[in-house]
Symmetry: C2
Subunit: 128 residues, 2 copies
């Protein structure tokens, strides 16, 4: 395993994810960090997001169009508005027993599951 370094760029990327309560895409993070450090490159932001995720400091949510990042560390579900694209955390418990149940049934090692609810937020409902 590789020895990680604590670079200024890495700190900035982590701080940017933590500073947001929504679920920014990699490119939004890039823009936020860019506002502080005008020289950072997209490649560096993508690399650091991926490193921070591997090392367990952030999570990412896979939604269509672009992955989003999340500063929460516990497993939880997400809600995507198909109208405006907003992603929110869902206040429902994570069902760990499903992972166990499926592991028994299939012989797989199950690490986790990801659940994304799809719908329309009140505002987008109105607009239609």
């Amino acid at each position: 395993m590789k020895q990680l370094r604590n670079t200024r760029q890495r700190q900035l990327v982590l701080a940017a994810v933590r500073a947001r309560r929504d679920h920014p895409s990699a490119d939004q993070i890039y823009l936020d960090v860019r506002a502080v450090d005008g020289r950072i490159s997209r490649g560096t932001v993508y690399r650091n997001l991926s490193i921070l995720e591997e090392s367990g400091e952030i999570l990412h949510v896979k939604v269509p169009t672009a992955d989003r990042y999340d500063n929460r560390l516990d497993l939880h579900y997400h809600l995507l508005c198909m109208g405006c694209g907003a992603v929110k955390d869902v206040e429902l418990p994570y069902h760990r027993e499903l992972d166990r149940e499926l592991a028994e049934k299939t012989g797989y090692f199950i690490a986790r599951h990801r659940t994304v609810f799809e719908g329309f937020c009140p505002e987008c409902r109105r607009r239609k």
Copy 2:
């Protein structure tokens, strides 16, 4: 709403999805159809997959790297092997009550949720 036509290409794409029991990517479908009709283009396959999904004849599964298509019409969950990338249907019931519960809680209209379990299949476990 637009009047859909029943073109030869559309039939071929639908037949190709139905002919597979796994969860092919758009490009795999393209290759399958291409074997029958050497002139069909990628654009046409993508367009038809998207039309068939909108009209409810197929579903698609959103997994990292590339979306997969599914000939099953009922809502169900999926299992992704992070080792070999295979996608399988999961034999667990779809929890419609979660959709209702979240709708009440949030005021959203909830159409559905998508759950993808992530793990390693027995063979990939062994290989590690």
